[in-house]
Amino acid sequence: MELRPQKVALKTISYLILFFFALVTLFPFYWMIITALKDSNSALRWPPELWPKTFHWENFDRLLKAAPFGRYFMNSVIVVILDLSISMIVMSFAAFGFAHYNFRGKEILFMLFLATMMIPGEALIITNFRTVAKLGWFDTYHVLFVPYIASVFYIYLLRQAFESVPKQLYLAAKVDGCSDFKYFLKVLLPIARPMLITIVILKVIASWNSFMWPLLVTNSSRMRVISYGLVAFQSEAGNDFPLMMAASIFTVGPMIILYLIARKKIIDGIAKGGIKG
């Protein structure tokens, strides 16, 4: 339905804020890309060029010669895949347990879990660090993801998704001669698919971008993941901003490609099945 023309004041305020918002959100991103294609001198020039005169694609060649980003990249891919496959299984079962079974103290236990969301990651990193140090896990792949397998928030979202499936569907499955495990596998998981996809994507992003933890528990450059590699490289590359930005694009690129491929799924997942439970 078309509405009568409204007073424009509020609309103007909204637009101004959207514009400001676009600026602070999108500009750094744009800046990263064009700086990666400038030469070292013009990158430092003030006022900055908003559009470089020549594009220095050779910056990427220089980057790969300067540091083993290929290796970093593969390390990140391995960690993401291991993390994802193990944690999705663990979290699905945990969420199913909470959603489907009743046991004494269930809600209190769940509240305790949720309470840990309040603790800053930095505080936990130290105790986790001591634990893996005692276990002698430094410079391994598993040390990079095992402490982060069980995320309270994702289990919470999954539990919500499972609980939003009508109880009658479980009864229908019983009538249809379906075991609990089959119900979990054939009915619950497929229905929660939008939420699962959303969580997979968020988990991939977090895992790919994780930095502090790899910094602490990997020493050799052989085991560096890409985000750590990026930061380490930045301290080595010093003032060569274009090279730093090229390295940033190397790190950001896969996530952008993931977004472009999965865009519709992400939006659908979050909008329809995901966040809405």
């Binding site: 009658q168 569907l169 229908a172 009538v175 249809d176 001669g177 379906c178 497929p190």
Partner: protein, 355 residues
């Protein structure tokens, strides 16, 4: 397959006060003859769905026994009872197509793929959804989902079909056609069927017999028209029929039943109070009857529904032919058709006589 319930009882713990028990189904007995369609009819919360779930095996009994034919199924799991169940909200698996929904119970029962495919075609033909097999439930209308749910329930060749308010999510027009459809399917397949509803018109039109439930008990069982014409008590009389029966505080006086100053009919009852019931269609214009004021007249094409108020302030409904002239805001006098007046014991509500 015959169904027999013997002294079946289901109790719950009260969620708010776990010490209290709620008796959802209270020592009921029932006999459902082979190949018949029986309605469990009652207001919401009367325990009719719990009774159905008890028959299906999804609900454990607190006491009593259930027989299918001569087999005692009381301790059997749902999947061993050979039943089909249609839920109120259909409970289709939203991520599966129609044919996958129908195939699901068959796959669980480890049917061969070829047999499953044949069976899908067969039940799809019975419920007339052959052209919808590749759709997802979300792409179907309410009535179509309903049919798919029935198809899924029929797929495993159940001996008994249970339906839990299967029409309550449909609009009025669809409800009418779907109920004829269910009647047709039940007659075609000859499966003994129990149908739960709170809608008395639905129960009247679809069932071979009606069982009326109140507060966990079976109050009356009988043919639909029988229940309408010979209600066992005040509750049944008020629940069956639309618009509902009119009730008056009456009394026995001088060998007759009196409502106010209106002498309804001669009847030699015990003296004292009595509840007099009369259906709207049995209220007729009559000189020297009950004096009433016409408050509202609704013209409904073929009939007039008149809301009348007695001099003592009681409201009653009268249905007349469209040609009978009754106008709003006039005074008229009405009587009750002989043989169509029901007497109920004032306290217990038990039916006494029809005069």
């Amino acid at each position: 397959m015959r169904i027999r319930l013997e002294d079946v009882t289901v109790k719950f713990k009260d969620r708010r006060n776990p010490k209290n028990e709620v008796i959802a189904v209270n020592h009921v007995n029932l006999e459902v003859p082979e190949s018949k369609l029986i309605c469990l009819l009652g207001p919401s919360g009367c325990g009719k769905s719990t009774a159905l779930y008890a028959i299906s095996g999804l609900q454990e009994l607190t006491g009593g026994k259930i027989y299918f034919g001569d087999r005692d199924v009381t301790k059997l799991d749902t999947q061993e009872r050979k039943i089909g169940l249609v839920f109120q909200n259909y409970s289709l698996y939203p991520h599966m197509t129609v044919s996958q929904n129908i195939a699901f119970p068959l796959k669980n029962a480890k049917w061969k793929r070829k047999d499953i495919e044949d069976r899908i075609q067969e039940v799809a033909r019975i419920v007339q959804i052959s052209e919808l097999l590749e759709r997802k439930p979300a792409q179907l209308s309410g009535g179509q989902q309903q049919r798919v749910a029935i198809a899924r329930a029929l797929a495993k060749n159940p001996e008994i079909l249970l339906l839990d308010e299967p029409l309550s999510n449909l609009d009025a027009k669809l409800r009418r056609s779907t109920r004829e459809e269910i009647r047709r399917i039940q007659k075609t397949t000859g499966i003994t069927t129990i149908f739960v509803t709170h809608d008395q018109e639905e129960a009247m039109t679809i069932s071979d017999e009606i069982v009326i439930m109140e507060d966990g008990r079976f109050v009356q069982q009988g043919l639909p028209q029988e229940v309408y014409e010979q209600p066992a008590n005040l509750f049944v009389a008020g629940f069956i029929g639309s618009p509902t029966m009119n009730f008056f505080d009456g009394r026995f006086e001088d060998g007759a039943v009196m409502v106010g100053n209106y002498r309804v009919a001669a009847h030699s009852g015990a003296s004292g109070a009595v509840t007099v019931g009369v259906r709207p269609e049995s209220v007729r214009l009559k000189e020297d009857g009950l004096r009433v004021k016409v408050e509202i007249v609704e013209l409904l094409g073929r009939e007039r529904v008149c809301r009348l108020r007695t001099e003592t302030g009681e409201l009653l409904t009268m249905i007349t032919d469209i040609d009978t002239l009754v106008e709003e805001d006039t005074q008229i006098s009405v009587g009750f058709s002989p043989g169509k007046v029901y007497l109920f014991e004032a306290e217990s509500g038990e039916a006494l006589a029809r005069i």
